[in-house]
């Protein structure tokens, strides 16, 4: 789960491995905010699978790659 300057860098880094998914750092910031922002809350409870899947879905991270187990 790394940051890159461009698709060219990702392709070189993969060295022929099957690519995963690439998203903008702006979408990643939104994802990080929704996924982690409650992590230090005094009344924190674990997210359910459905809650986490909803976070992914609402950001357009859909399809088999983004489907949680």
């Amino acid at each position: 789960m790394n940051l890159f300057r461009s698709e060219e860098h990702i392709t070189r880094w993969l060295e022929g491995r099957t690519p995963g998914a690439t998203i903008s750092v702006t979408t990643l910031c939104d994802l990080a905010h929704q996924w982690w922002s409650d992590r230090l809350d005094p009344d924190w409870q674990p997210h359910t699978r459905a809650e986490n899947q909803t976070i992914l879905d609402t950001l357009g991270l859909v399809g088999s790659f983004w489907t949680l187990p």
Binding site: S24, V25, D30, R39, P46
Partner: protein, 147 residues
């Protein structure tokens, strides 16, 4: 996850925030006035529930996501303090969890060029950067350290 485990989890995270690094089981036991065996047992249950990650073999903390106990390529600076995230997502997650603006410094995994991204109000200052996730979501916890 019962109230005792949640309380020990909360103390673990608070230590990370305050000290910038993970507590050892001994340190947290002394801090919390709990037997160290109770700390280790709670950490193991939290590990099993994916609420934190223990170092294989040692029983000490490897990650309390988004915080990493070990130095990583993803350093986060915020408010004059610093932490490590396990990956780019976690690094940004540290700013989100702390609810502060911050700066993530790393290097390109391909060419080793430095990359710095400042986050202000949940938005990056360089929106051209890309994030690549190699492992599908269904397998993130198969080997979370690799993921």
């Amino acid at each position: 996850m019962d109230d005792v485990d949640l309380a020990i989890r909360g103390l673990t995270y608070a230590w990370f925030v305050e000290h910038g690094e993970a507590p050892t089981a001994q340190e947290l036991a002394a801090h919390a006035h709990h037997p160290v065996a109770e700390i280790r047992a709670a950490w193991w249950r939290l590990h099993e529930d994916h609420a934190l990650v223990l170092l294989p073999g040692s029983g000490e903390i490897q990650m309390a996501n988004p915080f990493s106990a070990l130095p990583t390529p993803y350093k986060v600076e915020a408010g004059g303090r610093s932490w490590y995230g396990s990956c780019a997502w976690d690094a940004l997650g540290i700013c989100a969890a702390l609810r502060v603006d911050g700066t993530i410094t790393t290097t390109c995994p391909d060419c080793d060029d430095p990359i710095e991204v400042a986050v202000r109000n949940h938005a990056p200052d360089d929106p051209t950067l890309l994030f690549h996730c190699l492992v599908p979501a269904a397998h993130w916890w198969d080997d979370i350290a690799f993921t």
